[in-house]
């Protein structure tokens, strides 16, 4: 799956924004997340349009993303995109049930992502347990690499799962 920026929205009656297709996928529930589970790799295309949209939404306009006189050998992508592809890496075939909590997150960046790269992002469940209060705790280890196999980022995402 080549997944960059989803466009599954429309404007409904009275200007209400409606989301299409988001709930057609089955929910990813706690019992789907045993220790060691892996997900099919996400292919995440880092296009110029995606980077442009990211800069507009976030307001992060570092010149290394757009100024070719500064960015050598080529323009790079905002590392903040990792916050997006990390989540998508385990939700390609599922939707997220409501009520979850992102408890903690960590990133380690190894090499810059170049605009035009197609990342391969792999997610694995590295913790899955009920804590002392009975909360469903899930930790994902997410690793992204470039199309050449060069490590880009390692992410740990700690969540409290809703059901």
């Amino acid at each position: 799956m080549n997944f960059s920026s989803p466009r599954e929205t429309e404007i409904g009656d009275k200007g209400t924004r409606v989301v299409n297709n988001q709930e057609k996928k089955p929910e990813l529930v706690f019992t789907d997340l045993p220790l060691g589970r892996t997900f099919r790799p996400l292919e995440y295309a880092v296009t110029k349009d995606l980077v442009q949209e990211f800069m507009e939404v976030v307001g992060d306009r570092h010149p290394l993303y757009w100024d070719k006189t500064l960015a050598k050998p080529s323009l790079i992508a905002p590392p903040g995109l990792a916050a997006i592809y990390a989540r998508l890496s385990y939700l390609q075939d599922h939707s997220m049930p409501s009520g979850g909590v992102l408890a903690k997150q960590e990133f380690e960046f190894h090499n810059p992502v170049l605009i035009g790269d197609i990342l391969q992002v792999k997610a694995q469940v590295c913790e899955s347990y009920l804590d002392e209060k009975g909360r469903r705790r899930v930790t994902f280890l997410i690793e992204a690499q470039s199309q050449e196999g060069q490590a880009v980022s390692t992410i740990r995402l700690y969540a409290i799962w809703p059901k």
Partner: protein, 141 residues
Amino acid sequence: MLKNPQAGDSLPAIEKDIDQERIWQWAKLSGDFNRLHVDPGYAQQTSFKGTIAHGPMSLAFLNELMMDCFGNGWTEGGKLLDVRFVAPIRPGDRIRINGIVKEINKKEAKYYVECDLFIEKESGEKAVMGRGIGLFQAEEK
């Protein structure tokens, strides 16, 4: 870029205004259309009593701060650690993304600059807290 950072220095803070439109745009960018973020009527019925910004958007803001400070020294070896979401960010909030240099360690030809990072509201309430480690080549510091 930071110039000759010292322990105790403040990072160059970034301010942002958060509104529902921005949250909506992040939903489109990320594919996260959880109703808690994009449906004010629904969110009003939850314990949050209104929509809140996506946590990953705050992570993007922290990355922006560290890119401003370290440039390639962020994309090649930077670490964002122990980032916790301690209070929701809501439409109408003006937030400040900020940090303080905690310590600097030199290993071989690189300086590792560890910073306490936080996002706070105008009231001073912390919404996000964490740590970041950015790199300088020794000749850059």
